[in-house]
Symmetry: C2
Subunit: 266 residues, 2 copies
């Protein structure tokens, strides 16, 4: 079998990134790992997120992967550099592709970033955006209730609108014209966020940009699969059924093979 | 040093139980472990919660503990029986003390239970309450947004009132007169819950009942400390500073000794 793309996330959110990879790279095999036993990462320390990410990379490396995508903003923010430096195969995260697209979009030179507490505190979006364009002002805001609201299914709900208003009022006041949805769950709230921010603000979904970057990377390194009938494998650290039912809603393919991994042993 | 009481939780919530133990048993040493690297437990499977709980018990048993309190409703629901069966020292959870108090309080014979998804799905409150009194009807409801609302500090807030209304309307319609706050975070929402349920409904806080049960257990087994100047030690799997700042708000004592434990190695 052709080597696969390894994709991992703290849980199910990264499936939105896997979906983009499956759409944009239809000949690639994908191996997805979701750390459902230790989710979420967004409220945890750098040390812990790095440790968990390294265990997952060790697991993926047992699976004949040719590249790894960190499909979790928090892990991309806190662990990408160290993992990429140690890795023999290419590793990309979701932060830089999302940041680059935001810089391409903005005319007002004011960019908003919403993400988990850990991602915002890391300052990585601000640092990277300003390394691309020093004139840009970045307004970041942690939105810890967005993930539980999505997981409760309150995508169109008065309570969600209320929280969108509270979290985003500061960003809106800054006259931003690009807003990075810096957590894999947030694109599922694109409608209420768009309603609140208005049509002049471009919502940047790093999942889409990341799949594009992966495609470029594989092409430039002559690593693209051609005419391969793709195979998709899924691994989780907990809760196969729950994962499967979520994955079936998100992915354009049938999710059959889901296995539990004792990730602490890697 | 006298042997200690070991107390553990998935995170910081169990500190409300530790607080009751410190108040009701002022001569006892307490060793608290909060699994902040893997929090929350309430959305995870029995297998995973049992595995984590066993690791923590192995850790606590390295610390000269004479009894263990599982200060987490989910872990009490999913892991207590197996842990107690294997343990040489007494182990108690928070579910049974809370359930007993609810049965003592009710006159209408309708009891409400709110808890995490895992606790509600386990059916343990219903089974135990009905083993005490077959005439009681138990109405259970999982309230997954309550923990994140508490952690966001929205204790008195329109959004919290809104969620209380949605989660509890079914329970209110059942004419319950006792409501078990079956997750350690929920007592922090006692005010909005009381406003919604009205004065005729007794809110049962298992933390208080658990400390009482522990006291009885220690007394009956001649294990009570007398005239001991108590020592309190705290261990977490992640995020010392965050834990300390929460603990300082909850506990009536100064929280000085907090250490990180590599819990996966136990």
């Amino acid at each position: 079998m052709e080597a696969s793309i390894g994709v991992f996330d703290s849980g199910v959110g990264g499936l939105t990134v896997a979906r983009e990879i499956i759409r944009q790279l239809p000949s690639e095999n994908v191996i997805y790992f979701g750390d459902t036993a230790r989710v979420p990462y967004g409220s945890k320390s750098k040390q812990t997120v790095l440790k968990y990410s390294k265990q997952i990379v060790r697991f993926l490396n047992t699976k004949n992967v040719k590249a790894i995508v960190i499909a979790c903003n928090t892990a991309s923010a806190l662990a990408l550099d160290e993992i990429a430096a140690e890795s023999k195969i290419p590793v990309i995260g979701v932060v830089r592709p999302g940041a680059r697209m935001a810089v391409e979009c903005t005319e007002t030179k004011n960019i908003g970033v919403i993400a988990t507490d850990a991602t915002i505190k890391s300052g990585i979006y601000t640092d990277y955006i300003r390394s691309l364009d020093k004139e840009v002002t970045v307004v970041g805001k942690a939105c810890p209730l967005f993930v539980p609201l999505v997981e409760e299914g309150l995508l169109e709900d008065r309570i969600t609108d209320d929280m969108v208003d509270r979290y985003l009022s500061e960003i809106k006041a800054y006259n931003v014209d690009a807003l990075v949805l810096g957590c894999t769950h947030y694109p599922l709230l694109a409608n209420p966020i768009k309603r609140y921010m208005g049509n002049k603000v471009t919502l940047v979904n790093p999942a889409y940009e990341t799949a594009k970057e992966l495609k470029t990377l594989l092409r430039e390194n002559n690593m693209l699969n051609i005419n391969n009938t793709p195979k998709y494998e899924f691994y989780v650290s907990d809760g196969i059924d729950k994962f499967k039912s979520f994955a079936d809603k998100v992915l354009p393919v049938n999710v059959t093979a889901v296995n539990v991994v004792d990730i602490e042993s890697y």
